[in-house]
Each structure stands twice: as C-alpha cells, then as structure tokens.
C-alpha cells in the first residue's frame, strides 16, 4: 500500500479502520440475506466494495462533524459510528430503529453521531451538507461537513449551485464523490461529459482524485483536507474511484447487459479494499492472521445477534403513524 502516508499514529487506529470496513461488509451481507429470504420490506442498495471510502473519510472526522449520505447509505452510517442493532431494526421497520422504522434503509440517519441521513433523492443532500457547513461557520464552531454522493449525482444541477456558494463563502464542506463507475444500469462515461474534478475546479474549488480502494490513501487525504477546512480553507472536492460489488440494488441480479462478470471479478479479486488493508496490517506486523480472523468472527457474531434481535423486535404501534409530522403536535390527525 505504497500510496499511503502514515498519519494515523498507532495500531489501534488502523485496527479500528479495518474493523469498521469489516463491519460494513458484514452488515451488507446480512442485509442482502434478509432481502433474499424475504424478511426485509422493500429494496436496498449495498455498499459492499466501497468500504474504504466511507471508513477512510469518517475516521478523519469527529463525532460533531456532520455527514450526509445517500440511497447507498449503510456504509456511511456504520463508518460514522452507528450500532448494528438500531440499524437492522430500521431496515426491518421496527420501533427501535434509528428512525423508529419510519425511514428505512433509504432514510437511515443517526443524529447522535452526526449522520444527517441517507437520502432517496439522488443529489438531494448536497444542499443539506453545505448548509451544515454554513451553520458551523455562522455559529463559530470548527465542525466540518462531508457530503457523500455518487458519480450519477454529479448530473444534478443542485451540486453546482451549492459548490458556487460554498466557494464564495469558504464553507468547511468536503464534497466526496464516490465514483463507482455506474449510476443504476448506466456507465459513468455515458452520463458525465468532460471531467468531474474539473467541474469543481471551475468554481475555484481544490479537487483531488484518489484510489477509493485504498483506505489509507483516502484517510490521509481526508485528514489533510479536514484540517484545512477547519481553518477556513475549504471547500474541497474529492473524487474517489471505487466499485460496487452488488447490483444497483439487491434485486438487480442479472446485470450482464450493462457490465461484465469479468469486470466484477477483477475488482473483487485484485482491488478489494479489505483484502488489501488486511495484507498491509499483517505485513506491517500490526495484527496477525489469527487476530484478524478473531476480529472478523466477532463482527460476524455481533451482526448475527443484531439481526436476530431485530427480527424479534416489535413494529411501532399503529398510533405512531401520525406522530412526528410536526415537532409540536403529538398526533397530527388527532
């Protein structure tokens, strides 16, 4: 992992990063299983393959820093500190979910850790992240906001509107474009003309392209940008080159009409962010293979317990249906 500068200071940090990546992968494997066994309502979008992006970035943030997430949001949620139990409960529409079952996969949020929520409108959170940065600046807090979004979202005009304002006002926001090569069933080069980083640069925003499968590269760059953003040198733009292993959503199984099995295999076999980081940890003597296996197993156990818990957990009471429409009205339809 030559590209990475070692700025994390100790093994504990590395292991936590590794663990967070494994937690995401494990979470997604379980979510996919829940879908395939018809235990999960609706559809969901898997983050598997992109773990180094969410973890590399979120490990450079404080709890008080904010993120906004996407329809492919489980990874961001885990990386920003969320617990499995509340997450699975949310995916299953249960009362103990982060959003009391009202949001589900596409709206999972965890405000206690600064995750302002997944969003089912592609590009819909770009203003929100920029606004969180605005708030921080107005209140004199040194918080930073990170906006996660896909390559497909770069087609939404909202992005250019808020980048313009972020640049004019030097807001502490980092736009993190997860370029996984596809938006739904379409290749990125069919929907994005020119250069994505040049678009940010045209607004006077410093932009970087980085290997999104290299968690240390992502983390190192993010640490630098976050520090500078805290000092008022923002905004910044990152294009993270990555890949999603599953289909667009869990139901997108036959996908050879838009991408080849070979291509998928290549990314999985040769660029997997977890495999690469694990090898590096062992090489550097930070962990033994056995320690890693134990860590993996512990995460798996956590996840399975959380799934079991969530499957048994109660749905919200029907009376909740008209709660939380307004902050000050217990039941909107009473």
């Amino acid at each position: 992992m030559s590209s990475a500068k070692q700025t994390q200071t100790n093994s504990e940090d590395y292991l936590r990063m590794y663990r967070q990546m494994v937690r995401i992968r494990t979470f997604e494997d379980n979510a996919n299983q829940l879908y395939l066994s018809a235990k999960m309502p609706g559809l969901t979008h898997m983050y598997s393959g992109e773990e180094a992006v969410a973890v590399g970035i979120c490990e450079a943030l404080k709890v008080s820093d904010k993120i906004t997430s996407t329809h492919r949001g489980h990874g961001h949620c885990v990386a920003k500190g969320a617990a499995f139990k509340e997450m699975f409960c949310e995916l299953l529409g249960k009362e103990e979910g982060y959003c009391r079952g009202k949001g589900g996969s596409m709206h999972i949020a965890d405000q206690s850790n600064g995750n302002l929520g997944a969003n089912a409108i592609v590009g819909g959170s770009m203003g929100i992240a920029t606004g969180a940065a605005f708030s921080a600046k107005l209140a004199g807090r040194d918080d930073v906001a990170v906006c996660f979004f896909g390559d497909g979202a770069t087609a939404q005009g909202l992005m250019y509107e808020v980048m313009n304002m972020a640049a004019l006002w030097n807001l502490p926001v980092i736009y993190a474009c997860e370029n996984n090569g596809y938006s739904e069933y379409t290749k990125t080069d069919e929907i994005a003309a020119g250069s994505i980083t040049a678009r940010a640069e045209a607004f006077g925003i410093e932009a970087h392209q980085v290997d999104g499968q290299d968690v240390l590269a992502v983390n190192t760059l993010t640490q630098q940008l976050v520090e500078r953003a805290r000092k008022g040198e923002g905004p910044f733009f990152m294009e993270l080159m990555t890949y999603r292993y599953h289909g667009h959503h869990v139901g997108d199984i036959n996908r050879e009409y838009y991408r080849s099995k070979d291509e998928e295999r290549d990314w999985k076999d040769n660029r997997d962010p977890i495999v690469r980081f694990r090898a590096w940890l062992v090489d550097e003597g930070i962990a033994t293979e056995d320690e890693i296996e134990a860590l993996n197993a512990a995460v798996r156990k956590d996840a399975e317990e959380a799934v079991t818990y969530a499957l048994d957990a109660p749905y919200p009471d029907g009376a909740e249906v008209d709660m939380h429409v307004y902050t000050d009205v217990p039941h909107a339809l009473a």
């Binding site: 529409g93 996969s105 596409m106 592609v122 497909g152 005009g157």
Partner: protein, 332 residues
C-alpha cells in the same frame, strides 16, 4: 380477448404511437437498454434506436426542460420520470414553462409533451418514493392530468395523451404494473379525455375513485353488494379535464357520495371533486359528499404503519355503510 399487463399496455401504446409518428421520442433515466427499473419500456430501444429512446443523466429538471424545448419545435417528447416524487424537481419546467407557454404566447407556441410518471404507496419505498402528487399538477392551468386505472385505460389514455397538443401528465400506479386486463389487439385504442367511466352501476351510493383507488372502490362495492347496498363506481379517468356532469348526475341519482383518492387528503383531489358535487347536487344529497384520501403524513417505511395510510376496500365500505345508514347526519 387477450389479457396483457398494465406495463405491456403502456409499452404497446408507446410503440404504436412511435411507429405512427416519427416526432415522438422517449427521454428519461435508464429508459433504453434497461427499459426503466419497472421494465415498462423493454424492447423499445431495440425497435426505435437510441435517438428516439434517450437515456439521460440523473438530471430531471434538465431533461424536462429539453423536452419542453423539443415540444415547442416540432417534436413530441414522452418524458419518463422514474418516480412521481421527482415531480418536485421538474415543477418549474413543467408548471412555469410547459403549462404556460401556449397562453403566454397568445396561442402561437404549443408544447405537446407527455410526462409519464407514477403514484402509489404500500411498496415499502418510504417517504420519497411513494407519493401520489397528482393534485399539485391538477392545480396548474394549462396541464391535463390522466389517471389510468387498468391496463386498458393505460393504453387508451397514453395514446390520447401523445396525440394531444398540450402538456399532459399521466400517472401510472406502480403497484399495478403487473395487473392484467383485457385489451383489444391492434386497432387504434384511444380513450378520450374528460369522459368518466361508470365502472359499475348502482342505486344507493356513488363511489368515485381515481387510479389505484378504482379497484379499491370496486372491491368495496362488492363487499357492499353482499349486504344489499348497491354502489355505483365511477372512474373520472382524467382529473383535468374533469367530467363533472357524469359525477354530478350519479350523485343526484344515488344521493350519497364518497370520493377516494391516493393523494393526501388535505388540499388535494378529494376536496375539489367533493366540492363540485356539493355545489351542483346539494339539494339531492342525503349527506355531504365524503372524502377519503391518503393520510396527511409523509409515507412511513414500516409496513406496520404504511398500510394504515391508504384507503382500503374495508374502510371505504365502512364509510359507505355509515352513509347509507344515515349516521353521518349526527356527525355533521
């Protein structure tokens, strides 16, 4: 007669119109090879090519605007908006531009475009993928609004929409894509706008349902029939233009009315239709025209909650029973 799904019906309508008229094209996200996430458009790109079945980036305001300009200059775009919830993104191009161009130009410019999108909850898709927003566009003069309630209606209304010289918004019920109905093969199935469809005749009460709620009303009518209550079921088909005459005539006949619609109840479709009936049939009514819309809450994800938000056949039947028993007199 052969049966086809609503999805096939829409596909056929588009194919037939695209064959008939070279200026018709489809534009939207993943409409070509993918044939949309609902697979409604499968096969069209193979027949008509990528010049006429146009995959766009994820830029709803942008491709809506392009469609408006194309429509003003001799083309007849069919815009594919993947979810009705994304209407909020295209409102400016649809309502400030498309809807007003003919009027603002004193009749000189036309905008013959179709915006096809969908409505309907209970698909566990949560608050931003489940809305039924047809009331919003119905409020804007210059737009026509069609609400097919079956495969047959979907085909006939789509073909009419494509030939209309005005901007038409057509809402398909995404829960109904696989529902089958008898649809005649070939021929030119055109269902005129502004002509309501009396789906079932009845004496005691009129149930007016739109789109997804037509089936709900029909099922409610069956429940009621078993109890000896004879319900008339009417599908307005288009809410702009609205066939007020047929609705009012039925109300005068049965003297009791429930309007059922899957949009939020408040400031929505039910208020308009109920008001018109109250205005025009007041002295014939036993009780006020009642309304059953979707609950005035964002659509919740949890199945335990979501199913509570939409009118069901049982709930409609229950209201109808009360109306027929005269119980509403005390409520009002």
């Amino acid at each position: 007669m052969r049966e086809i799904t609503l999805s096939q019906a829409v596909n056929e309508a588009l194919a037939e119109e695209m064959r008939r008229d070279e200026s018709v094209f489809i534009i939207g996200e993943d409409v070509a090879e993918a044939g949309t996430p609902f697979k409604v458009l499968s096969g069209l790109v193979e027949e008509f090519g990528t010049a006429r079945v146009v995959d766009t980036p994820i830029a709803e305001p942008g491709f809506m605007g392009i469609a408006v300009g194309a429509a003003m200059t001799g083309s007849r775009p069919v815009v594919d908006l993947m979810f009705g919830d994304f209407l909020f993104l295209v409102m400016d191009q649809l309502c400030n531009q498309a809807a007003k161009t003919h009027y603002m130009s004193g009749g000189k410019l036309n905008v013959p475009l179709v915006l096809r999108t969908n409505l309907g909850a209970t698909r566990r898709s949560a608050a931003q993928h489940s809305q039924s927003l047809h009331a919003l566009v119905a409020h804007i003069p210059g737009l026509k609004v069609a609400m097919p309630s079956s495969a047959l209606e979907a085909k006939g209304l789509m073909k009419t929409a494509i030939r209309d010289d005005n901007p038409v918004v057509i809402f398909e019920d995404k829960l109904m894509y696989n529902d089958k109905a008898e649809v005649p093969e070939g021929g030119d199935l055109l269902i005129p706008f502004g002509v309501a469809n009396v789906k079932r005749e009845g004496r005691d009460i009129t149930l007016i349902g739109t789109s997804s709620m037509v089936q709900v009303c029909e099922k409610a009518a069956e429940l009621l029939a078993a109890e000896g209550i004879s319900a008339e079921v009417i599908d307005p088909r288009t809410i702009v233009p609205l066939d007020e005459a047929t609705l009012v005539a039925s109300a005068k006949k049965t003297s009791r009315v429930i309007v059922v619609d899957e949009g939020h109840q408040s400031y929505g479709v039910t208020g308009e239709i109920a008001s018109r009936i109250n205005e025009k049939a007041f002295y014939h009514l036993d009780a006020p025209a009642l309304r059953m819309g979707a609950m005035d809450v964002p659509v919740p994800f949890s199945p335990a909650l979501e199913d509570l938000t939409v009118p069901t056949p049982e709930a409609v039947a229950e209201q109808a029973r009360k109306l027929c028993a005269g119980e509403m007199i005390h409520a009002a």
